[in-house]
Structures are given as C-alpha cells and as structure tokens.
Symmetry: C2
DNA sequence: CCTGGCTACTGAACCGTTAACGTTCGGTGC
DNA sequence: GCACCGAACGTTAACGGTTCAGTAGCCAGG
C-alpha cells in the first residue's frame, strides 16, 4: 500500500495499478499526512514564533521581510511555514506545545518570554533571529552594537551633542514614556539594550553625560506611536538637535511629528532610524540598513540544513552575524549653530 | 499519563505531581503533538494555499490583508496558519498532500489549478476566497461584477467612451500584451473574467464597441508591470481618456507611467484601480474598496466554525458575498474635450 | 532432484497519544 | 453488616502509515 504511493519501483506496475484503482474505488484519499508524520518523524513544516499578535507581523515591514525570507528558504526545501499564535498578554503556551513542526524560528522575543521557554523544551531544533541570545542555540542577527556605534559616530561627526532617543518597548509589560538609565540597562529586549548601550558609550566618549539624554519608550511599534513619542520628547526637551530612533517606523513617526510642528528636517532637526525598510527608503531616511530578508532566509537554511544536526541539537551552535550598512539620507545634517537658530541659515 | 497533562481533574493532585516529576526526571518533553494529532484527528492548524510563490504574498497588499484577516481568525481560535508552498510553474502537489492541517483556505487560484484539485481531494473542509467558484465548496468574495459595473458607470457618467484596460494574468501560462476578446472570455481567473465582462457590458450599453477597446494583460502583478502595461497601451492608443485597471497595484504603475510622460492625472488621463489597498488610498486613487482583511477573517471563521460541518462536508455550502464600496478619489475626472486638448483647460 | 539465491509480495511491529473501559476501594444509606 | 455508588486509577485498543523481516515462488547451477 505504502509502496504503491511512495516506491513505485518496489512493485510491479501491474500490482501498483491494481492497488491504486482499488484505493480509488474505496474512496481512499491518499496517505494521511499526520500518520505519516508520526512514523517518519517529519512534520514537513517549521514553526515561526512571534512575540506579537500574528496580525502585527503583517504591519511591520521588518517583520514582513523576515517572514518573506523564511518563506523563501522553506519553499526551496518544500516545507511549510506555520505561524504559531503567541500574542503578548494572553500566554498561549499550548499553541507552542501543539504545533506539529520540525523546528522553530523565533523572531525577536524578549529574554524572559515564556513561549521561548516552551519552544526550547521541545525536542526540535531552534534558530533565534535577533534576540535573545541563548547559549547553545543558533542565532542570526546583525551586530547591533557595532551598527549603532557607526550611526552614533556619524551624528557626532556632524556635531550633534544634544540628542534625544526614541526606542521600542523594553519589557513585556506595557509602559510608555521617559526611561531612566537603570531601565535601559535592564531591558528584556536584548536588541534595544544593545542599541541604547552603543549610543550611550559613543556619546559619553565625546563628553556627553548620558544621564541627561532623554530616552522615550513606546510599547506599540507604529508610526503614530513614534509621532507621539517625538512629541513627548520635544515638548520636554525642545533644544535637542537630533532624534535617534531605534527603528525606522519610529523615525517615520518622528518625521510626521516634525512636519506637524513645521520643523525643517534636517535643518532644524536631524532624525535617524534603524532597519532600512522600504518606507524609510522612500523618505530618504538616514538609517542603518540591515538585510531583513536575508535574516529570515538564513534562519530557514540553518534550521533545515540536515548536515548541521545530529538528533535535536545543533552540531555546533552558530551565531551568524549579518552585515549592516550605514545609509546616510536626507534626514541628517549638522545642527544649526546658535546664531543660525536665531537668524536662520 | 495523558490525564496528568490533559485532565488535571481526573486524578489526585498528589499523583499528578508525582507523574509530572517522574516525567521531568526522565527527560520527557511533553506529549508529542503529531501523535496527539493522529489520535484526536485535529492538527491544530489550517493551510493557506496561494497560487503564487510564498514570497509574493508578502508583496501584494491585498494578499497581505487576506493573510492578516485569516491569521486573526485563527489566533482567536488558537490554531496556527500553515503557508503551503505551491509556487506556479513547479507543481508541488506533495506539499498539499503532506500538510498536516484541519482545513484549507484557498486564495485566488485559477480555475484549472492542480493544487486546488489536490486540496479538494483531501478529506478536510475547504473555503475558497475570491476564485474559482466550485460547486459545494464555501466561497468568500465580493460581487466582482456588480462592483466593476458601478465603477464603469462612474466613468461613463464622467463622459469617458475611449478607454483602455490593464488586467492581471488571465491564464496560468505566462503571457503579456494585448488581449483579444476570446481570451478575455476564456480566462481561467474567474475574477478577472468577471471584471472584464462587467466593463464590456457597461460600455457596450452606451454604444462602445468592446472589440475596439484595448486590454493589456500582465502576468506579474507589480507596480513596474503596471507601468509597462500602461506604456504599451498608451503607445498604441494615445487617444484613450481613461485607464481602467483591475487592481490598485496596476493602477499605481499606470500613475507612475503617466507621471513619467508628464500627463496630468486626472486632467489628461483618468486612472482607476480595484481593491482599496493602503498605497492606493495614499495616492487618492479612484477605486473599488473591498474588505480584504474581512475576506480572510470570514474564511477563517467559516472554516473553523464547528457547527457548520458534519464530518468533512459543509452542512450547507455557502457563498458569502462581501460588500464593496466605490471610492472616488482624485484620479478620475471628465475627459478633456477636443478643444481643451489643444488649448488647455 | 536438490539447493541456493533472487525477486515480488505479505504481515506484523512500531511510532506516541488519547479515550474508553475495567478495576479497586472507601464511603454511605438502610 | 450488606449492598450500592462514585471517584480514582490502571489498562488497552485503536489512530494510519512505514518499514523490515520473512515467505513464497521462480530459475539456474550443481
């Protein structure tokens, strides 16, 4: 029976024909994929764990790029991609336990995410994209520290010393507003932590007291939240000459707010992003471009590469660091001097 | 054992604790999802079949909307969404056969798609979005004919009689260029067929000879292909006063081409789309808005509603028609009169 | 004629879980 | 003190396919 479908060479064409015909007559719909999976120990799909509501992934262009890259890699290998629902707040660990997949790709979850724990307990290979860093687990991501450092140096070279920062959520609990230094350093999102730390280090190196630099956090990652964060920051610190945003989305929001306030970018205010999403490109944003699609592709390949694994564990846990590129657009320029501020350029 | 995990109420807390502890000591990773699926006959996931390469779905905002809606519905029900790779060209029916899912959502495939056949042979419920229409299978979609008729009437009212049409692929085989009427009527994509037919009917009703109306087809569905289609059409028929596009993406391409030619829209040329995607909204495109997200949501709900099914078949196969809305933007206006063309408005 | 080897096919064990069923036992009502 | 009942727990048979050992049948060589 099984042979008739899967090994035409093992039996005579005549018998195969007879078997298949009888099967058809009996209304047999072909081998059951689940039973097959049980026996062969291959589900033919990889799971994608996102910390966000599923629908969010389709809003954020960076997440979309990752998804696209992963889908591409999986398509090549002929396996499906299963979106595992794991919204924040409502912990649904069962979704992780119940997913019939051969491996997981975990995208950008906080250090202490319980879903991640659940994934790691499953006896299947796992690749983490971006964050967090877990010992003995493959990871794909850019060198956030180095990338942010190069961006910071660009701003420093331009002459900015009086900056403000807009960042994404730092913990799983909803919180918005100014972030004291301690919270920055204890953030559960490794990527945000690294970017903030890189900024702090670079600016302290040129004599800026980081504790005076305003950092505003937003839990939701949307253009509107970026705008409101920019507003909050500019209201309290109208003197800043540059807004450094830890994502392009936030930067686009900042641009929106700047335009609402009739601030010239970059003449009155420099704004920078991070990611290099198409929308940012269109706005000619100064940002760090990272190969989002490549991240997904790379993660998929790593997960599916049969040579790399014996049993459940990676042969040799790898951390793949992807190249980033500083992209200088039209949203960054030297700050106005005091005179320029009063008399115009 | 099973009870310890799934029915805490069936045994004493003491025993449960002991069982769980021993399990942990033995390194038992929890019930195997595949074996569970085999036994319970529930995979905890629904498959999404797209006729396009998986990565394409992440490019087309309309497809993305559908995906988002479906993900939303599935998230509510706690089931995953599995993207089934079924790129065009390379037929990979096995991907359909091997997918361990409780049902399929099929999005916009041609009438004669072999993957669709494979899906229908599987003993699981299926919902088709948009196309094709298959007897006894649930379908969710707008009334394309009525929607396109209302758009046509808008153009007719404005005074357009000399139009050109840009449409998406009409068959599975790659083909680009002008489309003779016969090919329009034999298109394997039901939606395109319906939209073209509605246009033809409406314009013939006001005396336009449809066989003189140029229709240009593009296999790929991108802004650039829309632009090249517009170029091809305008080169051959510079006199048209309106370009009707069967999708917003194509219309955005047409806008791009118009701007390249320094044609004023809508003064020199009216351009209309179909779908109502955010990008079109931003361009203030005249279009037909259809609730793409709702399509996905609706399909998911239909598929997962336990009351609607006995065994594999739908109790009462349903065709859900979603409302559309004519959205008049700033890309449509009355055509210039002959004098205006020579002397300006 | 017997044996050895080859091919074509058959049967049974196994994958890990769940759900149904059977057993035991302590408690309650008469 | 006996009969009955329900809760708690142990046992077992599928679920449907794959795989592998084993058998039957055949032909060739000794």
């Amino acid at each position: 029976m099984s042979n008739a479908y899967n090994r035409p060479d093992q039996l005579s064409p005549e018998l195969r024909r007879r078997v298949l015909e009888t099967a058809r007559k009996l209304g047999y719909p072909g081998p059951d994929p689940v039973a097959r999976s049980l026996r062969t120990r291959k589900a033919g799909a990889v799971g994608l764990l996102l910390t966000e509501a599923l629908s969010y992934a389709f809003r954020d262009p960076a997440a979309l790029g990752v998804l696209e890259g992963l889908a591409l890699a999986c398509e090549d290998a002929g396996v499906g991609v299963q979106l595992v629902p794991a919204g924040p707040g409502k912990e649904n660990l069962d979704a992780v336990h119940r997913a019939g997949v051969d491996g997981f790709v975990v995208y950008s979850v906080p250090d202490d995410d319980p879903h991640l724990q659940a994934v790691l307990q499953r006896p299947v290979p796992t690749v983490i994209i971006d964050q967090p860093v877990v010992p003995d687990v493959d990871r794909v991501g850019p060198d956030d520290k180095a990338a942010m450092t190069s961006l910071a140096e660009h701003l420093i070279e331009l002459g900015h010393r009086d900056i403000g920062v807009l960042c994404m959520r730092l913990t799983r609990e909803r919180r918005n507003g100014f972030v004291p230094r301690e919270r920055q350093e204890n953030a559960n999102y490794h990527v945000q932590r690294a970017r903030l730390a890189a900024l702090a280090e670079a600016f302290e190196a040129v004599g800026v007291d980081w504790s005076t630099v305003p950092v505003v956090e937003r839990f939701e990652h949307t253009i509107d939240d970026g705008a409101s964060a920019a507003a909050q920051l500019l209201d309290a610190h109208p003197h800043v000459t540059a807004l450094v945003c830890t994502s392009d989305i936030l930067a686009l929001g900042a641009l929106k707010e700047a335009s609402r306030r009739r601030l010239q970018v970059p003449a009155d205010l420099t704004i920078t992003g991070f990611d290099g999403v198409p929308e940012g490109e269109r706005a000619d944003l100064t940002t760090v471009r990272q190969p989002v699609r490549e991240k997904g592709r790379c993660a998929g390949k790593l997960l599916l590469d049969p040579g790399r694994r014996v049993g459940r564990a990676a042969v040799d846990p790898e951390v793949i660091t992807l190249d980033t590129e500083l992209r200088i657009g039209r949203t960054s320029a030297p700050p106005r001097t005091a005179e320029q501020r009063w008399f115009g350029p």
